[in-house]
Symmetry: C2
Subunit: 280 residues, 2 copies
């Protein structure tokens, strides 16, 4: 598997770089961003994965969240994958919430999506192998995962299903029950077919019922988020987590919306949350 470096910038004493590679999982060329902190000069550092929301690419978090500052303070590498397969050969849809930019971190089983839309294996398998090959300064025994909105759904579900791989988890305004909200219902039906047990594997509220080990998930949610009531309502997820004895710190932040101004305001706490677990 070959890797091309597209861009590179100095940032907070470390390096932000952007890379292209062909993925045999998504069957297309994929692009991601990596922030390598200054501490990597001295040896491997823990890795924090950031999964973005609908319409986003690697760039949103790296340009707008300020995450590099805190990654440099704590000595974490940050990886930001894309939110879907892309390219002329990859099926798309008209809405912003299906197709390109809307991969939902799942493995599609329905045509025409099933050939390319495999973002769960892309993140948890393909990129793991690629990092083992090409990023020797990534300590893959210490990894955490976070994300925003659709990416918060991705972070929590991938964490719940891969607890050994991602030892720490947090999220910003996550879609915690896609099976119950319009964004998720539209995507799951298209990618997985009509409502079925298959949806449960991608619904954090279902998955948290089964979680075995002790979770410790930090969630921030803007109180003025325009999507809170219809798409993001956390009540069922919090109830099921509590019923299963799992620790979820859910902070409602009054006045904040769904934007990167919200994420930037609280991302310091998230990086610190991951560092506390990964560097323990």
């Amino acid at each position: 598997m070959s890797l091309e470096t597209v861009s590179e910038w100095a940032s907070f004493g470390g390096t932000l770089s952007v890379h292209d590679h062909f993925s045999n999982v998504t069957n297309c060329t994929m692009r991601f961003g990596v922030y390598t902190p200054p501490q990597a000069k001295d040896g491997p550092v823990p890795v924090l994965w950031y999964l973005s929301g609908l319409t986003c690419t690697w760039a949103n978090v790296m340009e707008k969240s300020g995450i590099q500052k805190y990654a440099a303070e704590h000595g974490l590498m940050v990886v930001a994958p894309d939110t879907s397969p892309r390219g002329n050969e990859v099926p798309d849809a008209e809405g912003y919430d299906l197709g390109h930019g809307a991969g939902f971190y799942l493995k599609a089983t329905q045509a025409p999506w099933d050939r390319h839309y495999r973002m769960d294996d892309y993140v948890t398998v393909d990129l793991q192998w690629l990092f083992a090959d090409h990023f020797k300064l990534a300590d893959l025994t210490r990894q955490g995962i976070t994300g925003h909105s659709m990416g918060g759904h991705g972070a929590i579900t991938l964490h719940l299903k891969n607890q050994a791989l991602y030892q720490s988890c947090s999220a910003f305004a996550p879609i915690v029950s896609p099976a119950r909200v319009p964004w998720g219902q539209k995507a799951l039906e298209q990618y997985l077919g009509p409502l079925s047990v298959a949806w449960e594997a991608y619904d954090a509220t279902e998955l948290v019922k089964e979680m075995q080990s002790g979770a410790n998930i930090l969630i921030d949610q803007g109180g003025a988020d325009q999507f809170l009531d219809e798409q993001l309502d956390p009540s069922m997820f919090l109830l099921e987590a509590a019923n299963n004895g799992q620790r979820v710190t859910h902070r409602m932040q009054p006045g904040y919306d769904h934007s990167y101004y919200f994420i930037a305001s609280f991302i310091a706490d998230h990086v610190a949350h991951h560092a506390a677990v990964l560097k323990a």
Copy 2:
């Protein structure tokens, strides 16, 4: 003078807001962004003006620099004006370095630019009156000015010509001698006519020779900035500042380029520099 609020976001405990107003100086509708820190709840706070570079608007610094975090820590209001007059009625040119997005913080005397391109008076007079009217929590007796590239030129020249108004000054990768470099020569010739004494009023290297009071200007410059040699060479400015006994702290930052990744990496120091003067 009426003021319209276009957008508003919670950010680091304060508020980022975006406003439109008609300016009688530039003869068109102008848009700017303001970050109001949490400390403004307790009374007026000092104001830091951020002037952006070529092609930018209020949004670049507010989305990409992380300045709100440090403004919230130090209790400074931050104002980001646009970089030129805009709109269908405002003359433009094909290049990115003349016309819309390229006002150069001067008062044009040549047609077709002279009716609208008056960004110096817009910033130093028009916005001052508007803030006195509409932003009672801005303490206009304590103001600093900073900026990037063309905006660094704006910050230093407006500071040197209005030392009582802007008591503190800093810049990122400023154009310190527009009369000697291609960007500046193109703009000054179009806006002011052929090379003449008129250019000197907008050239920091000329202005610093005449500075009376004790300057204390912080400048960061990326060592890997793609524009360093041709457009930004600071040597003459530093020489003239030293000849006139003015204190300029010029930090060459190895590996950094001209982007907001560079600005974000060092903006904490700039906000602290202004706070030290304005809150003394």
